[in-house]
Subunit: 311 residues, 2 copies
């Protein structure tokens, strides 16, 4: 008997990945934000995310509209991280006995509002019973071949950039857990960087979204690109509101930024000489891709560790 | 406050369907076994099904391998019902604290064995924590344009046929629930009719798979095709082993056939003059498509009602 925490989410994923037979038409399978399939001048992007009550949302804090909204947003973020755009959506939902029709209708409204904002169409799904409220979303998107950005596209010497401030989602979660007032809006109702991803895609090399915290995402880029990274701690963007939450809870907001996740910002790498091409997106440079090793430095270099652990 | 059972699974689906904006490229959205998208000479088929512990499998009865196997099979059955074949698969799984690594590995083995048998490739997914074991599978398949079979393709005068005996899954479930020995193999380890669906597709009109029982499936065909149906009760195929389970439990096996579901046989309609074209598939004629009304007859005509209700 082996505890799952010994193997971890990524150990499980590696285990299934090694036994899969690849077929013609597959450009990228397990190991990026989306799977990528050949489709003429485009690539088809496929992503799926499951949200379980108590783990990915809390029915005491999130309104049903927010649960529906979030379920779509977290999936669009994966499409944004590949440089693409979403087209079609499949919704599976398991409903426990204690939700009524109006509650479910509000979940659907949240999904439909997110779908409308980001121009995707819900075309199928599965509505069933379960002892827990569970939502699974699958998105199908497209990307022009020249715009595809993968985790494995980072190159030595690239700057590591992020698209906005980090730690905000986990700050809100920890405030809600502690029953304190503060900056909880983003945690309850996150948004994603689809439009920005589209603008960045023609110029950047590696790209990933912040699901599990900056440390985890930079490590994914390093794993897939076969490179190293040096993150400069004092450049990691944390907003005043997130710092304020840190004070209220006596917690270090840097931990939220590196290991919290669900900020749905984009982390991307770009050659220094190309930085002016994306000036209008206001990129925040937080470090550099190196030949090997993964470090975070504040004068003193330490291993870049952390990231949200599901198990 | 409205109880979901008042609206039902299909009421919920209708409610979301009416608010969806259709986009170019969509051939069929909500309301069939799969969503259908344009793709050159082919249609792309998309289907998703969620399996929740306690509702769709029972960890006391199903081995982890069987849970993984079933999760893939139920989805392939939806592709088979459109006349297509599966190509790609996304797996989401929520794992509770009380499953260990070996258990999860056996679930994956069941998924991989089903994937190998039916030549599909797992290319992505989501592995997360949840207080219940939940699996969501999304399949992407293809069908040649001329082979697409929809629920709405039945025509007045068509014969209604099924591909094999019904009620077998629910017989097994009721035996397991009662703690009795008997024909439980199919319930625990169902299979689907992919190869048969491919052979039928060029010849039949409407087609659907048996997820919720024959009564429910024939009603879906009538709804989507704008026709009626008359099912002859004594032609509904029920095996000796299923009848035996009925005797053990003092239950009417016809109820299992009409309202049980999960038999994953195909229900299809075909003009009488074309029946000899599919002779080698040994179709079982159970009724006829009529202009209106949905009936089951055993000499006396009664309304064709029933079907598994999730709520």
């Amino acid at each position: 008997m082996t505890d799952i925490s010994e193997v971890g989410e990524f150990g499980l994923i590696d285990r299934i990945a090694e036994r899969i037979k690849e077929k013609e038409g597959l450009v990228k399978g397990i190991g990026d934000d989306c799977a990528v399939l050949e489709d003429g001048d485009y690539y088809t992007l496929l992503t799926t995310d499951m949200l379980v009550s108590g783990d990915h949302f809390n029915r005491n804090w999130h309104s049903p509209w927010q649960i529906g909204w979030k379920s779509i947003i977290v999936n669009i973020s994966d499409i944004a991280a590949m440089g693409g755009y979403p087209e079609w959506c499949l919704v599976s939902i398991a409903l426990p006995d204690d939700v009524d029709y109006e509650y479910v209708d509000d979940i659907f409204k949240g999904m439909l509002d997110a779908s409308e904002k980001y121009e995707l169409s819900i075309i199928g799904g599965d509505t069933t019973h379960g002892d827990l409220l569970v939502i699974n979303i699958t998105l199908i998107g497209d990307v022009e071949k020249e715009n595809l950005c993968m985790r494995g596209d980072a190159e030595v010497g690239d700057l590591i950039c992020v698209s906005g401030d980090l730690g905000k989602s986990w700050a809100g979660l920890d405030l809600l857990r502690a029953g304190k007032e503060g900056y909880t809006e983003f945690h309850l109702q996150p948004d994603c960087r689809l439009e920005l991803g589209r603008r960045l895609a023609p110029h950047v090399n590696g790209m990933i979204d912040v699901s599990d915290g900056l440390a985890s995402e930079v490590n994914h880029i390093c794993d897939e690109s076969g490179v190293g990274a040096l993150v400069e701690k004092d450049k990691v963007p944390i907003s005043d509101r997130t710092r304020e939450a840190g004070k209220i809870l006596d917690k270090d907001p840097m931990f939220w930024a590196l290991s919290g996740g669900e900020d749905f910002e984009l982390v991307f790498t770009i050659p220094e000489e190309d930085l002016d091409r994306i000036e209008d997106t206001e990129p925040i440079v937080v470090g550099k891709i190196t030949e090997e090793g993964r470090y975070i430095s504040n004068g003193e270099k330490k291993p870049l560790e952390g990231g949200y652990k599901h198990f």
